[in-house]
Amino acid sequence: MKLTQLKIKGFRNFKDATINFSNKSLVIGSNDVGKTNLIYAIRILLDRELSDFDIEPKDSDFYAFEPTNEYSILIKFENIEEDCILAKIGHYVNDNGDLYLKYIATRNPETRSKTYLLYAGFSEENLEEIQERYYRKVLNLKYIGCNRDLSSFIKRERKHLINDAKKNRDDEEKANDDGKLITIKRNLDLIDSDLNNLSFISTSTTKINEELDKLSIYHAGFNVCFDVGASDVNTFIDNAKLGLKYNENPLTIGGDGKNNQIFLALWTARNTIREENPFEVALYCIEEPEAHLHPHQQRKLAEYLSTTLKSQIIITTHSPQITSEFSPDSIIRLYEENSKTIAANEGCSEIIGNAIIDFGYRMSIIPAESFFANVVFLVEGPSEELFYKALAKVIDIDLDKHNISILMVDGVGFEIYTKILTALRIPWVIRTDNDIMRIPNKTVGRFAGIQRCLKIFQNYFEDSEMNEFIEKNKIHLSGFSIDDVPDENLIIAEEFIEKLREYNLFVAKKDLENDLINSELKEIYEEYLAEIPPEEIENTMKKRKATFMYKFLLTYSSNLSILENDNLASPLKRCHLIALSN
C-alpha cells in the first residue's frame, strides 16, 4: 500500500494543490506556509484519533482569500495488496490496486450551516458515498505532533509495552513470573506492615482514626492506614515508573532532547511490533522530529526513522541535517504564491532524484540548507562565499531575514544545483568567473565562463530574440588567441555578459580577486597586498584563495560598502530584489 497523491481544494492555505508522495517523504517550507495543515488534511481521512466530531468543518477551514463554500480532500492509494485492507474495503479497489478516499465539506452561504460527506472508489470518476471512515481499523495514519508530552505518553505506552511483553511470554517464563509475583506480594505485605509501624506513621493515622470515630458509629472496626500502594500486586507493577539509570545509578529522565529521543524510540518500538502484524497497515507522520536535538543526533534520528520503520512515512522538518539524510526525490517543498500554498513540482518527483544521482554521492548538509531558502545565490568557491556574506552585511541586505542562501558549487558545477533548485521552485542567481580556457590541442581559447552561462540559459529560458543573438554571435566566443584577445571578441563578450544579467546569470569581469583589484576598493586592496611579500601573493591568491579572502575581510570588511554600486554587488542586489518580490 502506498499513499501516492493528495489533492486539496479550498482548505485552509490550499486553494488547489496536488502533492505527490514517495515512500519516505519530507515536507519542508517556511513557517505558516501550511505544513501542519497538509498533514491535518490527511489526518481527517485516516487518523483514528480524530473523532467524527473532530472532523466537522469549521469556518476557519475554508480557504479565506476567495469566497469559498466547499473544500475537498482527495487521497489516492496505489498498490493495495494487503489482505486486511482488501477484505475491509476491497469493494472500492480495482484490478491495479488503486483506491481513492475523499472528504467534501460544504457550507450553506445563507444559513452558514456546515456539513461533510465521505466517499470511496477506484477512480476519481467512480466515487461512492460511504457513511463512516470504517476502514481506519485496517488502514490508517499514526501521528506525532510537535507537542510531545513525554510523561503522559509514557504513562499510556508503558501499560501497552508491559502488556505486549506479557503476551509474548512462553509457558515457562509465565510460570517463573507467577512464582516471583507471589514473592513480591509477600514482600509488599511486609513493607506495608513495617511502614505502618513507623512511629510517626502510626501516630498520624491514629489521629485520623480518632477523629473519624467521633464522627461516625459505622467507623467501628475500620482503620485508616497508609499503604505502599501495594494492596494489589498488579496495580503496584502497573504504577512502576519508567526511570533512567547510568551504571545502576538513577537519574531523572533527561532533558528535552533525551525526552524527545525516548519518546520517538518508544513510539517506533510499538509501531514496529505492529508492522509485523498484517492486521493493520499504517502510515506514519511525524512533525519536526529534530526538536531539541543536537545535529548529529538529528541525523541519527533521521536515519533511524527512515530505516527502522518499513512503512511509508511523512515528516515535516526545518532541519537541513534531517533533509540531507533523505533521498532528494522525496522532498516536498511547499511555498506560497498569490496567497495560496502549492507544492513545487507537485511534490516528490524524479526530476530531483535524477539530478542528485548526477552528484554521485549523498547530498551533504550545505546544499540541504539551500532547500530552505527563498533565493539561492550560487557562487564558484569559498572566497566568493565569504566575500558576499561580508558584502551583504555592509550594504544592508539581511540575508537571513529574506531567506537568501549563498552556496558555493566548488567544482561540482552549477547545473546540478540549478536542476534541483528549479525543481523545488527556488529561484537562483549565479555568479561565475569570466575564465578563458584553451581549446585542447590548439593554441586558441574560448570564453568558458560565458559559454557556461549560455548553456544554463538554454536549459532554463526561452527567448527567441536572445536565441537569435546567440546563434549570430556565438562564433566569436571561441577560436581566438589566448595571449592577446582581439577587441572584436572582447566587445561581443561584453555584450553577452550584459544580456545574460537579465537571466540572473552574472559573469565577472575576470574573477573575484581581479575584479576587486580593479574596483573602487583598489587602494585598500593594494594596501593589503603591500603587507604581503610579493612572492607569496601569487601563490596565496591562486592556491589559498579562501584564506586570503578571509584574512582580507577580517580587517577590511567595513570598507566594502564602497562597492555598493559596483558590478560586483549586482548579483547580490538581484537576490535581494527577488526575495522582496515573492
Binding site: 489482505d83 477484505a87 477506484f122
Partner: protein
C-alpha cells in the same frame, strides 16, 4: 473425545457428544463434500465446524455460509448466536452473495458506470420488450461462454441500474436461466479486483443443500476453491425435490471426481442397522471406506415366475422375517415398488392383511404446490399429524407468525369441509389453493390442481393418503415412501429396464436415468432392521406384456455382492 455443548432450547443445555463421523468432518481442514442423510445432525455439524474455524481467523476475515433459503441461513445463524464473533462472515443465500459481494461492487468496474442506483429486478417485472429480448437472447446459452449479444444484454441492463433475477417458479422454457449466477460468474472471471477481494476476505465457503445446485453456482464454487478458499459442500443426493427447476444432484455427485475433495458421509441413520447403512452408501460411492459388519441384514431373493408369484411368496416370507427379527405389528412391514402396476399385483395376491397405497399423479408431481397438497392430505387423514407438520418444511413459523395464523385458519376450515367431499368439492379445492398461495405465492401449478382434483374425486386414490392400521402390511411406491421408515422392507421391481429404467437413444446406446439410483437408495434406506431385495424371472411391462425378468444392474455391482446374503426362504 471431543465434547461439544449446544443450547437445545433457551432453558436447557444439553451435552451432545458428536459421533466419530461428525468429529471427522468438524476437524477436517481441507476441501470436503459431506453427504448427509436426513436426521444426521447436519446443521449441528455445520455450526460446530463454523465455531471451530471462526476464532482462528483475524478480525477482517470470515467465512461464506450459503443456505438454500433465507430461512435456512437464519437457522444456521441462530445456532451460532451466543456471542460468537462472526468477524467478516457472510450468511445468506447464493443469490444475495452474488449480488452484494460480486455484482454490485465489481459490476461497475467491468461494465461502464451506471447512472442509476442498482436494483434487483425480476424478469417478469421487466418491460415487455425487455422480456422479449431476454427470451430471444437466452434461447440458447453456454455458461461461462457468453456470446456478445448476451454480454451486451447484461451490460445494458446494468447501465439502467438493473440486475435481473429469474425466479424459478416461472413455468417456461427459460425458467431455468440463472441470470444472477451467470452475471456473477462473468464478473468474477473478468475482474481481478473481485477475485483478489474474495480471496483476501474469505477463508472458507460452505454451501448447504448442494444437491439442488445449478450449473452457475457449481461453477462459482469450483472457481472459489481454485482461488484457495477452503470449500465445503453439504448435500444429500437423495433429497433433490427441485428437479423441475433445472437443479440436479449431478453437481454434488461430480465433486468427488474433482479430486481435491474428501468425501464424508454423514449418515448416522440411527434408524437403520449399520449393514443397511453401509450397503446404501456403498451403492452411491465405491471409495467410501466403511466398516463391514458380521451381521448382514440385506438379502436378495429371486422368485420364479412373475410379480404375482412374488405376492404368493410373500405370504410365507413375511411371517418368517417378522419372527426372525421380532417384528410384531404388520404395519412395520413395507413392500416398496417402482410402479403402481407391480403394487397392484401384490395387492391382489397377498392374502395377509394389507393396505395398498396407490401412487397418485399428485405423488409424482414434484412442483411446490403438489408438495403442499400432499402434506395437507396426509394431515387431513391422519389424526396423529399436526398443522405444523403441513408447513414446517416450507416456512419458518417463528418469523412468519401472521402468515402461519392465516394458514392455520384456512386449514381449520378445510378440516370442516373435508367431511363432505361430494358437496364441498369446489370449496375444498379452493381451500387447498388458498393454503398453497400463502406459502408459495409464485408457485401456482395448474397440473398440481388437476392432480388434486383427481385424487379428491376417487375414493381409492384418497384412501392412499390414509395411514395403515397396525395389522396392515403397507404396499406403496418408493416415491411415496419418502420420509417414512419400516422395520422390514421388501424392495421389488429390481429388474433390468425397470430400475434403473433404460432407453435406447438414436445410436442404439443405453441411456439411464440418474434419478433411479437415488430412488433405489431411498428404497433401501427405508428399512430399519432388514431389507430384502426382490426380483422375479418374469415381469410385466407397461403394455402388460410378459417379459423376461433379469436382475437389475444395481444388483450386479461387484462391491455390493459381499454386503448381502441370499434369502433363506
Amino acid at each position: 473425545m471431543l465434547k461439544i455443548e449446544i443450547l437445545s432450547n433457551k432453558y436447557q443445555i444439553k451435552k451432545i457428544e458428536p459421533t466419530d463421523q461428525q468429529i471427522a468432518i468438524i476437524a477436517e481442514e481441507k476441501n470436503c463434500v459431506v453427504i448427509a442423510c436426513p436426521g444426521s445432525g447436519k446443521t449441528f455439524v455445520l455450526s460446530q465446524k463454523i465455531r471451530r474455524i471462526l476464532p482462528e481467523l483475524p478480525e477482517y476475515k470470515g467465512i461464506i455460509a450459503i443456505s438454500y433459503t433465507n430461512k435456512a441461513s437464519d437457522e444456521l445463524k441462530k445456532c451460532l448466536k451466543d456471542g460468537l464473533n462472526k468477524k467478516g462472515s457472510f450468511f445468506g443465500t447464493m443469490d444475495s452473495f452474488y449480488i452484494s459481494e460480486i455484482i454490485r461492487p465489481f459490476g461497475k468496474q467491468i461494465f461502464k458506470k451506471a447512472n442509476f442506483e442498482i436494483q434487483v429486478v425480476k424478469v417478469k417485472d421487466l418491460s415487455k420488450t425487455d422480456q422479449k429480448s431476454f427470451e430471444r437472447v437466452f434461447q440458447d446459452y453456454h455458461t461461462d461462454k457468453l456470446n456478445l449479444q448476451q454480454k451486451q444484454f447484461f451490460e445494458s441492463c446494468f447501465l439502467k441500474g438493473q440486475i435481473i433475477l429469474n425466479s424459478f417458479e416461472r413455468e417456461n422454457v427459460l425458467g431455468n436461466v440463472d441470470t444472477v449466477g451467470i452475471i456473477a460468474n462473468y464478473i468474477f472471471d473478468n475482474s481481478y479486483a473481485c477475485r483478489r477481494y474474495l480471496k483476501a476476505k474469505y477463508s472458507h465457503i460452505m454451501i448447504d443443500e448442494y444437491q439442488d445446485s445449478g450449473q452457475e453456482q457449481h461453477n462459482l464454487f469450483i472457481k472459489l476453491k481454485n482461488l484457495g478458499i477452503i470449500s465445503i459442500a453439504v448435500g444429500d443426493a437423495r433429497q433433490s425435490i427441485f428437479a423441475f427447476a433445472g437443479k440436479n444432484p449431478k453437481f454434488l455427485l461430480s465433486l468427488p471426481k474433482e479430486g481435491s475433495f474428501i468425501v464424508y458421509p454423514l449418515d448416522i441413520n440411527h434408524r437403520s442397522h449399520p449393514s443397511i447403512v453401509t450397503y446404501s452408501l456403498k451403492l452411491l460411492k465405491e471409495e467410501i471406506d466403511l466398516p463391514v459388519f458380521d451381521e448382514i441384514r440385506v438379502f436378495e431373493k429371486c422368485v420364479t415366475g412373475r410379480e404375482s408369484d412374488i405376492g404368493v411368496w410373500l405370504n410365507d416370507a413375511i411371517p418368517y422375517y417378522c419372527s426372525k427379527f421380532n417384528v410384531e405389528k404388520y404395519n412395520e412391514v413395507a413392500i416398496l415398488t417402482k410402479s403402481n402396476r407391480t403394487g397392484s399385483f401384490i395387492n391382489e395376491n397377498l392374502d395377509l392383511d394389507h393396505k395398498f397405497f396407490i401412487n397418485t399423479n399428485l405423488d409424482t408431481n414434484t412442483s411446490l404446490w403438489a408438495l403442499v397438497f400432499t402434506k395437507l392430505l396426509e394431515y387431513l387423514f391422519d389424526a396423529n399429524k399436526t398443522k405444523f407438520y403441513v408447513i414446517k418444511d416450507f416456512l419458518d413459523t417463528d418469523k412468519n407468525e401472521n402468515k402461519t395464523r392465516k394458514i392455520f385458519g384456512f386449514i381449520d376450515i378445510l378440516k370442516e369441509q373435508i367431511n363432505d367431499i361430494e358437496h364441498n368439492f369446489d370449496l375444498i379445492v379452493n381451500s387447498f389453493i388458498l393454503v398453497s398461495s400463502e406459502i408459495f405465492p409464485q408457485g401456482k401449478n395448474t397440473k398440481a390442481i388437476d392432480n388434486l382434483k383427481e385424487v379428491l374425486s376417487s375414493k381409492e386414490l384418497l384412501n392412499s393418503y390414509k395411514p395403515a392400521q397396525f395389522n396392515e402390511i403397507q404396499i406403496m411406491t418408493i416415491h411415496k415412501s419418502k420420509g417414512l421408515e419400516f422395520d422390514i422392507v421388501f424392495h421389488l421391481d429390481l429388474y433390468e429396464w425397470i430400475l434403473p429404467r433404460r432407453e435406447k437413444d438414436e445410436n442404439g446406446d443405453y441411456i439411464f436415468d440418474d434419478q433411479d439410483l437415488n430412488l433405489h437408495f431411498v428404497g433401501v434406506t427405508r428399512a430399519k432392521n432388514c431389507c430384502v431385495l426382490c426380483w422375479s424371472t418374469r415381469r410385466t411391462n407397461y403394455l402388460d406384456e410378459i417379459k423376461q425378468g433379469n436382475k437389475s444392474e444395481f444388483l450386479s455391482i461387484k462391491r455390493l455382492s459381499l454386503l448381502r446374503m441370499v434369502s433363506e426362504i
